[in-house]
Symmetry: C2
Subunit: 196 residues, 2 copies
């Protein structure tokens, strides 16, 4: 006899496969194509494992990884938001909440609540874990754009000032990574890949 | 001054982005395209979070997630192996070991050793964590092929007997998921999507 919780869990598993088809603004590190949310989520999870020592001491890195794996699931319904578009970002909040209700609601209740709590924690950015997770989420596209001679920055006429605004979020999660990101921005400006 | 370990960690981070360009045999759940290793790694990490209660009691699920995030990194050099091709599988062992030496070797030594140990553990399948991780790695493509009316099974003339051979690995990691996988195989045979 099948465990009674398994069908709901499989339903959720089938649903979240859709994250592989949500396309982000930034490109892969080699510039060959745009990145999707699923591979991005893997990537930032890996960053948490690799860069974890740059989080404040005592940060629970396992929870950071778990948070990063679920952080974009709501985009299955709500789509990717361009972080440099303030109007879109504001409109997104409600859409993402409704998406979280629906998607985490597919799971057995206790489990849905637990995973939803990870997403809420990430969004609220009140714990060191959430701040570090968000820092990595912001760090990855800066690394990619720097690597791609500016990548999608010139395309969307993004300036160094706008990027440095996002770097503050990195600094809040990890001073060392924030400092490194500032340097990437300066290098990009110096090379003419990002307007000052 | 930058933390002296950061440049090597960033080098590793840039390198592992290539996993997004390693293409697997199976398709996405909607059949729209073949899956890449990075999004697959995210997916099985999520499965560990969602299906963790079907692992033996006491299984350290955080380590399962970490293992699944790194399990395919060696394919950046060694490529994806078709698990139903025994000759390719045997030749792959050495190539993957060399890849592990190179890729984990990019990290600061202590960290490279730690991540490499996770990959070794996964490959050796001696701990409950590794057996459960491997079970999920085998479970995901069966779910996808079942969902896709047989998916890539008929294309490669795979039979139920061959799939059931892989299901044994699922059973060893999780009896409940093994039982469920057997049922998926039987359903696929019943619908004519997999030859018996």
């Amino acid at each position: 006899m099948t465990d009674p919780r398994l069908p709901a869990q499989i339903e959720f598993a089938l649903e979240i496969d859709k994250l592989k088809r949500v396309i982000r603004r930034n490109n892969l590190m080699d510039g060959s194509r745009r990145e999707n949310d699923a591979e991005h989520s893997w990537y930032v999870g890996m960053l948490a494992m690799v860069l974890g020592e740059h989080a404040p001491p005592g940060t629970d890195l396992d929870r950071v990884v778990a948070m990063l794996l679920v952080h974009d699931l709501v985009e299955i319904d709500a789509g990717d938001t361009f972080i440099y578009d303030p109007v879109a970002v504001a409109a997104q909040v409600e859409a993402e909440r409704a998406a979280a209700d629906r998607i985490f609601g597919l799971l057995p209740a206790d489990q849905g609540v637990r995973l939803r709590a990870l997403w809420d924690e990430f969004e609220e950015r009140r714990t060191p874990e959430a701040r570090f997770a968000k820092a990595l989420d912001r760090f990855a596209p800066i690394l990619a754009n720097h690597r791609n001679d500016g990548g999608t920055w010139p395309l969307h006429k993004i300036t160094a000032r706008q990027v440095l605004e996002k770097v503050k979020i990195i600094e809040e999660g990890s001073p060392a990574l924030g400092e490194y990101a500032v340097r990437l921005v300066e290098l990009s400006v110096g090379r003419g890949h990002l307007s000052s």
